[in-house]
Symmetry: C2
Subunit: 427 residues, 2 copies
């Protein structure tokens, strides 16, 4: 008996899924032991050519109505957004006992635990491989392949737009605004880039990874999120000189203060497994107590990779699998308190613009000493007496609260003429 | 109801599995929804301390007898070897309807298709994540996570011992024999190193990966296999100069002549995703038509990573999954003819030792011309008239048969005083 799929949302990804299901029909039938057919679709614009013959496929103007169609086994939700139609449709479909496959990271990040309870209560599958890191099967890896491990930390490059911008800035020694504008022209960045460059998209994905790694309820609100707008070509240059690359990293680890989840630009050492993940690629590193360090790298977005992940979920369902939504049954997901960022411990890169005159470094280092922040290195290239010059400091591991207090002191110094720039250094 | 596991073979990996099952008992119960208990074990030496209390666990001197124990759900086979007890036990356990989890690459590589048919006929699971690339969940990735793709090629560093030796040779500019002896002392290489350094272990793993990627019967006999004994420090040096790293790579791709499977030392460009996989790490790259290039990297051996993979399979079974053994049901696995290595097309690195006198290069290049092999670069450093000097050539893509004919001609030249060294260059 064929597996009947409905696709809600026929944008780039939806068209990619249609194309894959059409092009690999034979392969899929062989791998699933049954035919996968597109029974219905829903999209606003009925007239647009999606490159696939949709005659004979039921068309719904209202996506939510797909949930009531008895001739559908799986709803593929590709509308997007944490609420609105995407949420209504997902809830209705699961409530009707239909399986839902989605690429919607915002929906999972905000409503993941509730949707998992709904799905499992109905013995329906809620699958979302495409929601994190595009074509990389990292959801499956955490939920199944590495499930025997306690995860020390999981981190990675989760937003291809930011990684593309940072790579291009470094390679061309160019500034953020210019590269962003170019990326928008090339279609690599949205016209409203906030979701990407402010780290929100990466935070959605990180919250999902953390839930999988720690068997916890997805806690998007608990993610400390900073974007890359303040990263300058100068800091990227210094990073290189110090043996680092600047990457927007999502990072989750369990600490004595709770679950630390953060999305921030960080300096990663050049010998780190993800330092060389460049351009639009994504990468995720999982550190488990038995497996050690495992790295997964691939394309994090785009029609092809996303369709690959969506259809992998469909194949799983076709083969009769009933995976748990996260790593443990939904009713056993734990609410783990978020570790306050003030309790974060790590090393820091600080870049100051100071007036080049005697005593400045003594003043700055006194501020650090007063907050018990231990200096690891100091760099002041060239001289320009009386002019503004950059000074770069790196610290040993310190608590973020102390670092922030030291920075407030430093900012108040007369010879410091711009707010200090701070970038965390990843071990 | 608890899932009752029997472990056959309590060497390093067996002890690692025992340790994991003991240490993570609570985590596993949470993730599986049921307890996983070790009900029986089999090993030769009953007195050895494996660090885990085995009182209350049934002990079998004859591993095969585990298959007849009605109080066992899963047999974990960690004995090793393509035949003998490992095979007898696996067949008997599957025939009795028990699930089998194994780390035995030789068994799968030689008898994979037959065992898959036996298992699926009995609705038993035959799982072998640990057989390929240790802790990296690459079997699951190919069978499930990337199952929507047609695979253009799959390749990787599949033997940690060889990768450790090649890395150490390069870093210390040392010769193979010396580094091997040291690796043996450190326990990184077996006293009988043939399985590793002659490429057999990698060939077992490659044959399994190819079967997963192409839905074909495992065809170990069809793998063209060369080891790393003939790699010299000089060639590693030249590789670096030309922008390559020498790696022992297992590589499978579908060609017009059939399925090409080869394990050979190759030169990979420094910007290749696996050029920087060093030491005992393994890495696998999958190129799919929708996903693009995906990389998986991690520890390829050792008690911890292997136990992680073995227990991932146990978790899958505990969660009630009945995966297909390969990518398609066993009765649909295709027998695909092996592409003869003579039909391989690619670029080549050739290193000759020649007498430094006028006309030598002309003679050598004439041999290449006569076989239609097109030269890409030639390198002869320094002069030593009348003495033996190395000459390095790289070619454009050419058919291996032509390359071999040209090498035979070159070897017959009077001024060529050693058999030419040939290393394939990977695109």
């Amino acid at each position: 008996m064929a597996l009947r799929v409905a696709i809600a949302g026929l944008g780039t990804v939806g068209a990619g899924v249609l194309k894959l299901l059409h092009q690999q029909a034979e392969l899929l039938e062989e791998r699933c032991g049954r035919r996968v057919m597109v029974a219905a679709v829903s999209a606003r614009d009925r007239s647009r050519d999606r490159g696939v013959d949709l005659r004979g496929v039921r068309w719904y103007a209202d996506a939510t109505a797909l949930a009531a169609d008895p001739e559908i086994d799986i709803v593929v939700e590709l509308i997007g957004g944490a609420d609105g139609v995407a949420r209504t449709l997902t809830e209705a479909a699961l409530a009707a006992g239909k399986h839902v496959v989605t690429a919607n990271k915002a929906l999972l990040a905000v409503h993941g635990a509730a949707l998992a309870r709904l799905a499992e209560g109905k013995r329906a599958v809620l699958a979302y491989e495409a929601a994190v890191a595009g074509g990389i099967p990292i959801v499956k890896a955490l939920r199944e392949g590495l499930a025997a491990n306690r995860v020390a930390r999981v981190y990675g490059i989760l937003n291809g737009t930011c990684n593309y911008i940072l790579t291009t800035m470094r390679e061309g020694r160019r500034e953020f605004a210019e590269v962003l504008a170019e990326a928008q022209k090339l279609g690599y960045a949205e016209l409203d880039p906030a979701t990407d460059v402010d780290g929100i998209d990466a935070a959605h994905k990180l919250a999902i990874l953390a839930a999988l790694a720690y068997g916890s309820e997805v806690d998007f609100a608990g993610v400390h999120t900073e974007g890359i707008r303040h990263i300058s070509a100068l800091d990227i240059d210094y990073a290189g000189e110090l043996g680092f690359r600047i990457k927007l990293i999502g990072h989750a680890r369990m600490t004595e203060h709770g679950l630390e989840q953060r999305v921030t630009p960080v300096m990663v050492p050049l010998d780190s497994p993800i330092a060389h993940t460049e351009g639009v690629f994504n990468a995720v590193v999982v550190e488990g107590d038995f497996v050690g360090t495992a790295l997964f790298q691939g394309r994090g977005a785009g029609a092809g990779p996303t369709a690959s992940a969506v259809v992998a979920d469909i194949i799983d369902i076709a083969r009769g699998r009933q995976p748990v939504t996260f790593s443990v049954p939904a009713d056993r997901l734990r609410a783990i308190p978020a570790a306050p960022m003030a309790r974060h411990r790590g090393a820091y890169y600080i870049r100051l613009m100071v007036v080049d005159r005697p005593g400045v470094i003594a003043d700055v280092t006194a501020c650090l000493r007063d907050e018990q922040v231990s200096l690891e290195s100091m760099l002041q290239r060239g001289r320009a007496p009386g002019e503004s010059v950059p000074v770069v400091l790196t610290t040993h591991d310190t608590e973020e609260a102390a670092m922030r207090r030291a920075l407030e002191r430093i900012e108040r110094l007369n010879s410091v003429i711009e707010p200090p720039r701070m970038i965390r250094i990843e071990a």
